[in-house]
Symmetry: C2
Subunit: 355 residues, 2 copies
Amino acid sequence: MVYNGVFSAIHRENRIAQDRVTRTARPPRIQDVARLAGVSAATVSRVLSNPAIVAEPTRLAVEEAIAETGYTLNVTARNLRQQQVGGVLALVPNLANPFFSQILSGIAEVLRGNGLNLLVLDTTARGGAGPEAIGAYLTRSRADGVIVLDGSLQPALFRQPSCPPVVQACEWIGGLPAPRVLADNAEGGRLAIRHLTGLGHRRILHLTGPEENSLTVSRRAGVCAGLRAAGLADGALLAGDFSLRSGHAAAQRILAMAEPPTAVFCDNDEMAIGLINGLVQGGLRVPEDISVVGFDNIEMSAYALPPLTTIRQHRARLGRHAANALLALIDGKPCPEEEILPVELLVRASTAAPA
Amino acid sequence: MVYNGVFSAIHRENRIAQDRVTRTARPPRIQDVARLAGVSAATVSRVLSNPAIVAEPTRLAVEEAIAETGYTLNVTARNLRQQQVGGVLALVPNLANPFFSQILSGIAEVLRGNGLNLLVLDTTARGGAGPEAIGAYLTRSRADGVIVLDGSLQPALFRQPSCPPVVQACEWIGGLPAPRVLADNAEGGRLAIRHLTGLGHRRILHLTGPEENSLTVSRRAGVCAGLRAAGLADGALLAGDFSLRSGHAAAQRILAMAEPPTAVFCDNDEMAIGLINGLVQGGLRVPEDISVVGFDNIEMSAYALPPLTTIRQHRARLGRHAANALLALIDGKPCPEEEILPVELLVRASTAAPA
DNA sequence: GACCATCATGTAATCGGTTTCAGAAGAAGG
DNA sequence: CCTTCTTCTGAAACCGATTACATGATGGTC
């Protein structure tokens, strides 16, 4: 006891000496602020998290002490005590894809407003995380919640008992009972087809994403509905993978057709732009010889040549809605199982009546 | 003491009962694993972080207990004890911009390999973070390190005593003494001009980013060097802001010129694509009437019409190098003040000899 | 003046790991 | 058989906050 007292006295002297020499020696803790303000650590904590319950003079003294010491809260300590992580994990198939990064932007905006960090995990990263590596992140100890942007993940991943609340955005995983925030993909497909059939097109090709992809499936449904509404059969389809390259490759296939379509609806803008590039280089004119419609309205589509007719979906907004849904889930508040955001047709110059 | 003993016995019973009923009652802690394995918590911790120092039979028993309980480490608790955050903060001007998200992708890859999270903060987010909001993140308690991708921030932000190690990537901030990982911007400008002068161009316009931007400044220097090497004067410049829109706007200005340039070098691909769009819509042909060179080699540039001649820089690689530099800094290892990554000229179809 | 409610604050337990230090067990050497 | 050294493990302190509970002061009421 005596030894202890002596020791801590020495220790304190030492600390003060250090403070005089180098300010960076050791960041101040809540206890240091308390000492300086002549109150307990509990009171400082209260000033920090709930100032209203602290008497005015005390509060001012504490605030002054905080300013004087340059104190900043240790977030990790708070998180440990409050049994939270302070962050939400976003699972994206490809961080480098602008489509996803715009959704992330919306997510980040809402999270930051609620004091939460955005943690990003690239599910198909190079040197990459296998499913088991992703699973290691799906713990309450790693994130307070998860937003899934990758529909190709296994639902089993999310069934571990310690998995935090999950929300799906944009794409979704079959058999995963987590709320979904989606664009109205079917309606988008339908709108695109209605536009084309309205122009008089009857041979319409659908350039899709990967066959099993949830976006592909629902957009395809809309396409078929649109075709039927115009009294047409389901029509041809060609499978791509959402990349510029696969759009370009599709052009070669089309150029080689005996009876090529007069219009193509693409499941995203990037394939549409790749397709136009391939078609034009193959000697066709867009839209005179063949019309092209995209999906997403990425920024670039307005500056393509010709500017692209497309289905617009508001990606940042989708991200915001997903983040808000997750926040509700984390707080144990009710959250709709499925939220569908409207899309709209944007007519530019890549579509015209068939020759 | 007795009361305490009785209480914890009841508590334990209760816990076991809960475990039988719902597995989600309470995640196991290291203590639970220790009890099951018949060892102390310290030993379990050692198995987790440094298995080599634990005797084989003990280790196996612990590993079995871990598997049986489904234990997962509480990362927050570990971080608190180890005085770290387990994450690195990236300050990006615009998360939705593919240019930055590809750098992020490289950063994320390296960080994940080292067990660190990537935290993303959008410096110009909507509803946005003022400088003071950003400053609140620049604390050792919020991040183990910071990678700055935004050259427009105030250097003073990073001077707070509690600011963690900082590395700048891609752009840089004047007066901030933090290591920089950059593309060879000047060389890129020089290469572009050499290519154009080699084709015979003599009236070359430089479409720049914002005047004070660090990329603009160094690319401009390269452009001027290139022009001088060809015996030409510094030449005209037009200031844009790296956006598609500003490229498009520049086209209007060029179309209105009495003596328009025969070639334009743009400080990024997006402006170049916007520019081409504007020029073509204004009736000029690219490259027959006017040549255009971009910078960055974004994916889209290969599929522009015409495909864009540009300067290629490897963004993911830049991100990886920046992350590695930061890791060195965090570990107190030496780290070069400036690292310059090579760029190269990619000739496609948007450049040709002047008419 | 005694009693009670209210408010402000302090004390100490707590979150869940890691790590220092010390001690036990076993091996090696004299 | 007794040291001495090594290897392994456990007890307890520690990281830095939050918060349940206790306490003291104050003011109002009868």
